[in-house]
Symmetry: C2
DNA sequence: TTCGTTCTGGACCGACCGGTCAACATTGTG
DNA sequence: CACAATGTTGACCGGTCGGTCCAGAACGAA
């Protein structure tokens, strides 16, 4: 018994994600968001609250789908855990190594811009990093069981190291350092993990 | 034959650095800069140009002193090259591991916020990263000569890996992940370099 | 002292900011 | 059809944005 909404909330959130992702929180105006989503100010405020609340929704969604994708990649069928870890870094290297400006990762941009002043953003970032570290650790342990990673490696420590390298590659890619730099960093990181690159690949 | 300036340019740049460092480029208004520096708009524009130009000056200065400090630390007298590299990571871990919000590194924040849309910022960031990688590589090679790092390690690759870990630690610290996470990442990174932590320390 | 030159402070500008609100449109219900 | 309830739209708000400009202040030179 009321007028139904004319828009799809998830579609709007995706559009808003694009807008924030392109310019960051402060540099994205409400007009930008209106243009990106096609909604008027009133609808935007009625459905999501103010700019800050909308951004938090966007960031939460991004982190959720981001970790879900990582989980899918690592839990996926097919090759061994060791191969999937190698693939993960390979994918990052080729994706981030392409010349030209990169949009980087929304979480990295948001944390850099807002974590110092916005505890909710910092919490979401920390929680996401912890989750990723856990996924990496589980995969390393599986690789240890399979005999692809030496059993004497500390899986948690190795996972944390891999996480740091992944985030570092993101940071370096923003400056367009080139694929060879990222490749070296990734190779060295996999080496610590006992995941020396397969020479046949 | 003219009225002399009433302010010290370097002091003003230091104050402006603080302002930009606290809030980022977009979220720092001219009023903030006026309050931080004590200068009026006219003086600010007369001496440095617009907000963008002032920011570039600030960022350039930050990168210059930042790499200079690193150079001093690595070229300094005293302990061995291996010890200085270990010290570098130790310092980072303890500094970034303290709880509470971190201001992170101005270069990291600026690159995340602006590199995608501002080529000058991206160039400065890339150049700074290349410089740091070079400093690390030189120090690793010195450690190899001294016999503290196995001679068969690729110094350039190792340096790039250490750089990625350093930037990754910065990124993780923004989310307040905790000192133990950073310590694990740093320890694993030093291990690849052949710089196993001195058990006596 | 007088003058030319530079610096300084702040009034002022149009544009845009995030946010509110009231008039109106669109639905289900009776 | 009338009505209640919700969604939509865009005009409107006070404030702030980055930037300009100018009247006057503070100097050195003559």
């Amino acid at each position: 018994m009321a007028r139904p909404r004319k828009f799809d909330e998830e579609q709007v959130l995706r559009s808003a994600t694009e807008a924030f992702w392109n310019a960051g929180f402060a540099a994205t105006s409400l007009d930008d968001l209106m243009q990106a989503t096609g909604l008027g100010k009133g609808s935007l405020y009625g459905a999501f609250g103010d700019k800050q609340a909308l951004f938090q929704r966007v960031l939460d969604g991004y982190c959720a789908t981001s970790t879900a994708h990582l989980r899918d990649h690592l839990d996926g069928p097919g090759s061994s855990s060791a191969d999937r870890l190698r693939d993960l870094f390979d994918t990052m290297v080729t994706a981030l190594g392409q010349p030209g400006p990169h949009r980087s990762c929304l979480l990295a941009k948001s944390a850099a811009e807002l974590a110092a002043t916005n505890p909710e953003v910092a919490d979401r970032a920390r929680q996401t990093f912890v989750t990723i570290a856990g996924l990496l650790q589980a995969e390393i342990e599986k690789a240890q069981v399979a005999g692809d990673v030496p059993a004497d490696r500390d899986a948690r420590r190795t996972a944390r190291h891999l996480l740091a390298v992944l985030r570092g590659m993101e940071a370096l890619a923003q400056a367009d350092v080139g694929e060879d730099v990222l490749r070296d960093a990734a190779d060295a990181a996999l080496e610590v993990a006992g995941l020396r690159r397969d020479p046949a690949t």
